[in-house]
């Protein structure tokens, strides 16, 4: 497991979501629900994979379905970490 701050996690989630949606990171709001971006299951799995790499641990691919914004997901992952 690799220790990361909530800020680092949030930052990486913004970058990964922007990549998935082909948007600039500045266009992603961490408090906006994933649904508003039309996050699909492939994007959710890709986000989870990037978090597994960042944190060095296995994660459930449905986490973005349970924690429905970058803010909520980063906060949850920060606690796990």
């Amino acid at each position: 497991m690799i220790k990361r701050s909530v800020e680092e996690i949030r930052q990486r989630l913004v970058e990964e979501l922007a990549k998935e949606l082909e948007l600039a990171p500045g266009e992603i709001s961490p408090t906006e629900p994933f649904d508003r971006y039309g996050l699909d299951s492939m994007a959710a799995v890709n986000l989870t994979l990037s978090m597994e790499t960042l944190l060095g641990r296995e994660l459930s691919p449905s986490l973005p379905f349970k924690y429905r914004s970058i803010e909520a997901l980063a906060s949850h992952l920060g606690k796990l970490n």
């Binding site: 799995v45 691919p61 449905s62």
Partner: protein, 291 residues
């Protein structure tokens, strides 16, 4: 051979998935080599939950101690082994389109077991069966490109065939995953995950929706019970993924990096789909109508 209009996934498409390598599947499936959603109780190992699932189907089909039992889509033979070694069945016949699975079963040297590399549509038994079980095969009975009408026609043909070769009073216990009721088939088809699964994992395959299975059985079979155990399938995929990751180095040496990465993604997408209801897992018990 069956006509093309009635064909589900071809033998080549089935082999693309199931014939990758028996040793690869053995790394992450349980020792019964069961490759379908398990029936979990608290404290179960994967093997416990798979055997509970197999026993559920044997009981639901009333297959215990019967003379002739058919397993349509028999995989690596776990059901037939259980039927003939624990459930007193005199003769179990299994149908698969995978040569590797048939070889695996043959190497087990099981008594009272006959495996055939054959589609149900081409199988003409000399006598009727007393019970039928089909787990994880129905998903392959229609193709991604089929229209709603052609898919339903294929499903009806399957139930007609089962009706023809199942003895009066017999039961069919069926397990299949299905598109969830939360979205239309069109929406499911358009997702990146579905396209990945259809192109890279399960070629020429398109799962049903629950109501299509029920409609296709009408007039030939009465649906006695049905339950959606999608979370049980999510748990099964989670366990498979954990086991595959634990044996990733061995898996890579057997089938290469690309296949291992593809299977990890497929299992993760499956976990997501079953946890969120995009996919469902149905266990259905049908009783044959008429004499």
């Amino acid at each position: 051979m069956m006509s093309d209009s009635m064909a589900g996934a071809s033998r080549e498409a089935i082999e693309h998935h199931y014939d990758i390598s028996n040793d690869f599947y053995a790394l992450w499936l349980d020792s019964t080599m069961t490759y379908s959603g398990a029936l979990w109780k608290e404290g179960d190992s994967l093997r416990d939950a798979q055997i509970r699932k197999i026993d559920h189907h044997i009981f639901a089909a009333k297959a215990q101690a019967r003379t002739r039992v058919l397993d349509i889509g028999c995989g690596w033979g776990g059901v037939m082994k259980r039927l003939t070694t624990e459930s007193g069945v005199s003769h179990a016949v299994g149908l698969t389109l995978s040569q590797n699975q048939a070889l695996w079963i043959a190497e087990m040297n099981l008594s009272h077991v006959e495996v055939r590399v054959e589609s149900w549509a081409d199988h003409v038994p000399s006598q009727c069966y007393d019970a039928m079980i089909s787990i994880g095969a129905f998903e392959h009975f229609a193709r991604f490109t089929d229209s709603d009408e052609s898919r339903l026609a294929k499903y009806r043909a399957f139930f007609s065939w089962c009706h023809q070769y199942l003895a009066p009073g017999g039961r069919l216990s069926l397990q299949t995953f299905a598109y969830g009721s939360r979205a239309t088939r069109e929406k499911s088809h358009s997702s990146r995950a579905t396209r990945f699964l259809a192109n890279e994992i399960f070629r020429e395959t398109d799962p049903p929706q629950f109501d299509e299975v029920v409609r296709a059985a009408n007039t030939r079979f009465e649906l006695e019970s049905a339950s959606n155990d999608r979370l049980g399938y999510a748990q099964t995929c989670t366990e498979w993924l954990r086991r595959l990751r634990n044996r990733a180095d061995e898996a890579r040496s057997l089938v290469g990096d690309e296949v291992v990465s593809r299977y990890q993604k497929y299992l993760q997408l499956s976990i997501f789909a079953f946890e969120t209801g995009q996919l469902e897992l149905w266990r259905m018990t049908f009783s044959r109508i008429g004499d």
